[in-house]
Point group: C2
């Protein structure tokens, strides 16, 4: 019987050791009876003009996403007060597919407290990010883990991720190995 498949969304793909981080996340998934699918998985892409390469990367991610039963998204703020933009699109993609969305953040504070005043309304619901993020997770039947990573370890910390994996495995009826 094939194991449930989990898309591993997040900004890890931009790190110098992205492949190693993908390997670690896959190992955590495997220990819980799940197949982790990292965005960079698959055959190396052919060289080409930048726009064609971007389209090929998109297509690879899209194919991974539609092949997965769920997503576990690293929603830690990235280059601003909110999560990585690509991760946000992918999380919405799963919502539209009607599949559960699991998410976590390594910054426990409220979104409101990270926004530099700019004269515009700032959401003030005690949430960690824009309400569409946590709303998507809850409405989809997934789970949301809000935690604070130990100083300096935001990228290597796997505690919140593993908490999501546990919830996802239970929700998908995976058999732990």
């Amino acid at each position: 019987m094939s194991r449930p498949r989990v898309y591993l969304a997040g900004p890890e793909v931009f790190l110098p050791d992205a492949e190693r981080l993908g390997e670690l996340k896959r190992a955590v998934c495997a220990a819980h009876g799940l197949d982790g699918v990292f965005p960079l998985d698959g055959e190396p892409l052919a060289a080409g003009p930048p726009e064609a390469l971007a389209a090929a990367i998109f297509e690879r991610c899209r194919a991974h996403i539609v092949s997965c039963d769920t997503v576990i998204a690293n929603c830690t703020p990235f280059r601003g007060p909110s999560l990585d933009a690509g991760t946000a699109v992918e999380l919405g993609f799963f919502l539209g597919l009607g599949r559960p969305v699991f998410g976590y953040t390594h910054v426990a504070g409220d979104y409101r407290d990270r926004v530099t005043p700019d004269g515009l309304a700032v959401e003030d619901f005690g949430l960690a990010d824009n309400l569409m993020v946590e709303g998507a997770v809850r409405a989809s039947g997934g789970a949301w883990i809000r935690s604070q990573a130990p100083p300096g370890s935001s990228w290597s910390w796997l505690v919140a991720f593993e908490a999501c994996v546990e919830r996802a495995a239970r929700a998908l009826g995976a058999a732990a190995s």
Copy 2:
């Protein structure tokens, strides 16, 4: 015959004159034979604890989204180098529903040039934002308008928006009024 419905995604909801901006966008849609649906449309929400209010807003947006044939998303950078996080989730939602996504930005420059160096890889594909954004638009059969708003008019400028409305009306076979 009912007119095609267009969800009007974007950070306008955070502006002091959000309702007026929604009204303007709806008028542009109507002139092209489309029904614009602004995220804030609908009955006023009941007062309640912050998390319940956030959930009610999410649910209202979700209901609007599933009732719409397409989305036109304002993807102008918001509080960072990328688009508003909620807009990104909504754009992905439409992708997952298999409906076309139209998007525009009022900042013509490359994403790469807006990122403060942080030791992580910066996408360098000549795109205006994370490749998942423009990728979603293209893969869905929508259109992407990249333009530079005149100084000081980013919120009131409707030229790029109307270009999207025209494309959407054509794609959906709307009858211009």
